[in-house]
């Protein structure tokens, strides 16, 4: 009798980046049983009982790393440049179809886990249901459902506009009832037309109660912060991830704030700097120049984009050096940042001062820690879920080689990346 429970797969990696250590290991065998990693050993030292049926796959000329964890996606986005305000007027069913497409695209590109930072109404929860039913192929989903926003606040058009501590508490409870894995709160305005990016949105009391209620149920909180004051309020309330983390004063001046970084370090708070969208904007401007359709207005915008991008890069560099854990997270498919291009955000981490291996840690173990799922994904270790990607070229000295994904394995199963259904 065959023991069908044992489905042993051995991947012999020429090079292994395990997600947690800065050391790049050579000639390592990864033993997968069903959907779990059960052993990771130098290939020569692996000793399997002869009678145990297993399959060996030779990747001795390739690099294996953990399936990427994107700690910030908007599966609801389209990535064709349209604003959130425009997105939100689409019917839920249309957004659902788009989310399923995006989820598949991201998975096929090597992202095996995503934290979705906000979608309209119940669409995120319904996508999860579709995935459970087997009709949508998605990465692992860590969902916020609707982001918490003040009236007119950033992402308020997604359906959760609340005021006062009672409504804040109720909204957290309701989202958790619906199946939210974490709470996303927009602590400042953002691109939403009716919001104020330079001002904090929720009061300190409101922020406090949101975090208190989420933590009570074992859920983490991630706060969108487009200015310094909103970061202070978020950190004071005890949020777990700061998103964007733009150091800006009320009057719009860019100013790196050591006091905020101190607060983050004290409580080991994760920063998701979202460098991808900025890089994308720089790229769009450069493409316009190349195409010869660059106008005076473009020049103004381009200057502004460059100034902001440099400020963000500088802050990234200082935070990284200070020891703030930097969680990669693309923010795609928001704005013009199409899904399936997470590598761009990770490349940003290298431009900002991380080594390629550090940047890959940001996109695997650190991202999984910031999503509170590090016990199951984000590294290649015995006991973790078998989410891995295989690269044709080594990214150790050339982070751009993250684009050479040739296999994606999720739950121990090879993903058919040509499946267009």
């Amino acid at each position: 009798m065959n023991n069908h429970e044992n489905n042993i797969l051995i991947l012999q990696a020429g090079e292994l980046i395990d997600g947690t250590s800065k050391e790049v290991k050579k000639n390592i065998s990864i033993v997968i049983n069903g959907n779990s990693i059960v052993d990771v050993k130098p290939t020569g030292e692996l000793n399997l009982p002869k009678e145990l049926e297993h399959q060996i796959i030779d990747y001795s000329d390739k690099t294996i790393l953990p399936g990427l964890v994107d700690s910030h996606v908007h599966l609801t986005g389209i990535g064709d440049g349209r604003s959130g305000d425009e997105l939100s007027i689409l019917p839920d069913e249309v957004l659902s179809i788009n989310m399923a497409n995006n989820a598949k695209k991201h998975l096929h590109s090597g992202v095996t886990t995503v934290r979705d930072c906000g979608a309209k109404n119940n669409t995120a929860f319904h996508l999860k249901k579709a995935a459970e039913m087997g009709i949508a192929e998605t990465p692992r989903l860590v969902l916020s459902g609707r982001p918490l926003a003040i009236i007119g606040g950033h992402l308020s058009y997604f359906g959760e506009e609340i005021t006062g501590i009672n409504e804040c508490r109720a909204a957290v409870r309701y989202l958790i009832k619906q199946g939210a894995d974490f709470i996303k709160v927009t602590a400042s305005g953002g691109s939403t037309k009716t919001s104020f990016p330079l001002r904090p949105s929720f009061s300190q009391d409101e922020m406090n109660v949101i975090v208190e209620e989420a933590h009570k149920f074992g859920k983490h909180v991630a706060a969108h912060c487009h200015n310094s004051e909103s970061m202070i309020r978020s950190l004071t309330a005890g949020v777990d991830t700061i998103i964007h983390g733009v150091f800006k004063e009320y009057d719009g001046t860019n100013k790196y704030r050591e006091d905020i970084v101190e607060l983050m370090l004290e409580n080991n708070i994760y920063m998701n700097p979202t460098l991808g969208p900025g890089l994308m904007r720089v790229e769009i401007m450069e493409n316009k120049k190349k195409a010869g359709v660059f106008t005076d207005i473009d020049q103004e915008e381009s200057d502004m984009v460059s100034i902001e991008h440099e400020h963000r890069m500088e802050c990234f560099n200082r935070m990284h050096k200070a020891g703030v854990p930097m969680s990669a997270g693309s923010d795609s498919a928001w704005g013009a940042y199409e899904m399936g291009n997470y590598f761009l955000d990770i490349e940003g981490h290298v431009m900002g001062g991380q080594s390629p291996v550090e940047a890959m840690m940001s996109a695997t173990s650190i991202a999984s820690q910031s999503c509170w799922i590090e016990n199951s994904v984000g590294s290649i270790e015995s006991g973790k879920l078998a989410d891995l990607i295989v690269l044709d070229e080594s990214p150790v000295n050339q982070i751009e080689n993250l684009r050479t994904v040739s296999q994606v394995i999720k739950d121990g199963k090879f993903i058919d990346r040509e499946n267009l259904l």
């Binding site: 019917p91 249309v94 179809i97 989310m99 399923a100 497409n101 119940n122 040509e418």
Partner: protein, 447 residues
């Protein structure tokens, strides 16, 4: 400058000529066929920079037209009642997936026969926004049903002439292309398949409004009184067309068939959906009991004895299929316009397998060529789309399917799809493995 494309191969079945052409070619520009015929005869019309797709000894046919689909469905045995409880967002995702399945399987035009709420209209929105791909879709939105009637759970329950008319107008406002009415009960648990649902006046309220806008109508009929009512109300297509009496007996009625012919109504007999149930039962599955089966099973004592019940269902499925095949044969003999409408993904019949229905029409008396007509040009005529699709003729949409094997030798070869062009665009269908995933085959056990 328009980009010209050419598809050529050894055998061209254009559905214009009665016979296949040797060494055929189809020239198209901007998604429209500009010329089709023997390659040697038309080759001087090919521009030097045209993109040539040479499929050597493969077979070119028009994109298939399936007159009856349910893009909300799963085809895994679950009931419509269960689908009716699912969130619209989930059904929209499923519909988008099913739409790709249809297209990749060579079906370039579908007439959807009833989804929940606005889900299919939303899929169309997504296609128009470039967020989804789908075949050409002829949509009815919610089927018009009586309270508790068949598919009432999809959101179109009405009573009386005024409400029927109001729903018709509401559906037009929502952008539907035709009306689907459930003129009898069906698998819906609360419905009565052997009884008509709407009164003639209620039916007429809808069909009359349809006439006002040159729209077509189709009625679901699982028993003869419903067929009769529908014909009186000038319905354009009778779906299922079961010759069942209100006491449950089945007997072919030549007189009623004469009336169908006289009224020039099309018939979509949906043969395979019953065979799919049979196949599922043969494999030992326990698909959901539809209301229809439920009511018939009243004669079998439903106990905890699963085997007894399954055996009874198996017998009933076999008997039901034999009766339907026999009646279909008689309709074809008498000259009824019988077309292919798969009814997938309903019950156990999954989308991507339209060929199974055409195969049974061939088994009921059509030649392979007539079978092919029933799923191309004749189906297009039934949908009022014969000026756009159904054959590879100048001025029609360049909806083209390339087959590995010739369907005129064996109609089952319709499933040997190699490539698909839709509105002149080459469709990337993804991996072979993924395209095998939706194929349903006859079980290995003997029928």
């Amino acid at each position: 400058m328009s980009e010209q494309k050419v598809v050529k191969s050894k055998i061209l079945i254009d559905m214009v000529n009665d016979k296949p052409l040797e060494d055929g070619a189809v020239i198209f520009e901007n998604g429209i066929i500009v010329l089709s015929g023997n390659y040697e005869k038309i080759k001087d019309k090919i521009q030097p920079d045209a993109i040539i797709y040479d499929y050597k000894d493969k077979i070119i046919i028009p994109g298939l037209v399936d007159c009856h689909t349910h893009h909300n469905g799963f085809g895994d045995g679950r009931s419509g009642d269960e689908i009716g409880t699912m969130p619209d967002d989930v059904l929209a995702i499923q519909s988008a997936k099913n739409a790709k399945t249809s297209l990749y399987s060579g079906v370039t035009t579908i007439r959807e026969n009833g989804p929940k709420n606005l889900t299919m209209m939303r899929l169309r929105d997504a296609v128009n926004d470039g967020l989804a791909i789908a075949p050409r879709m002829v949509l009815c939105g919610r089927p018009v049903a009586i309270i508790g009637g068949h598919m009432g759970y999809f959101g179109g329950e009405v009573t009386g002439e005024d409400e029927s008319l109001a729903l018709a107008r509401q559906l037009i406002k929502e952008g539907v292309d035709y009306f689907k009415i459930t003129a009898t009960g069906g698998s819906t648990a609360t419905s009565f398949p052997l009884r008509p649902s709407f009164s003639k006046d209620e039916l007429y309220a809808v069909t009359n409004e349809a006439k006002n806008y040159d729209m077509l109508t189709a009625t679901h009929c699982l028993s003869m009184e419903g067929i009769d009512y529908s014909l009186d109300a000038d319905v354009d297509m009778i779906i299922h067309c079961n010759f069942d009496k209100s006491n449950g007996e089945s007997e072919f009625d030549p007189k009623l068939t004469e009336k169908i012919i006289e009224k020039e109504a099309y018939v979509n007999p949906t043969l395979h959906v019953g065979r799919a149930r049979l196949w599922s039962l043969m494999e030992g599955n326990d698909p959901s009991l539809g209301g229809f089966e439920n009511k018939r099973l009243n004669s079998v004592s439903i106990t905890n004895d699963r085997k007894n019940v399954l055996d009874a269902r198996l017998d009933m499925a076999k008997y039901g299929l034999d009766v339907k095949l026999d009646h279909c044969r008689k309709m074809i003999d008498m000259g009824v316009k019988v077309i292919t409408g798969s009814d997938s993904s309903w019950g156990d019949y999954a989308l991507g397998n339209t060929v199974h229905e055409t195969e049974l029409l061939v088994e009921s008396g059509y030649s392979n060529f007539e079978g092919l007509k029933s799923v191309t040009i004749n189906a297009a005529e039934a949908l009022g789309l014969s000026d756009k699709v159904g054959s590879l003729q100048k001025g029609k949409s360049a909806d083209i399917v390339i087959l590995d094997k010739n369907p005129l030798e064996d109609i089952k070869n319709l499933n040997s799809v190699s490539e698909v062009f839709f509105m002149g665009e080459y469709i990337n269908r993804g991996s072979v493995k993924s395209n095998k995933s939706y194929t349903q085959n006859r079980p290995m056990v003997k029928e």
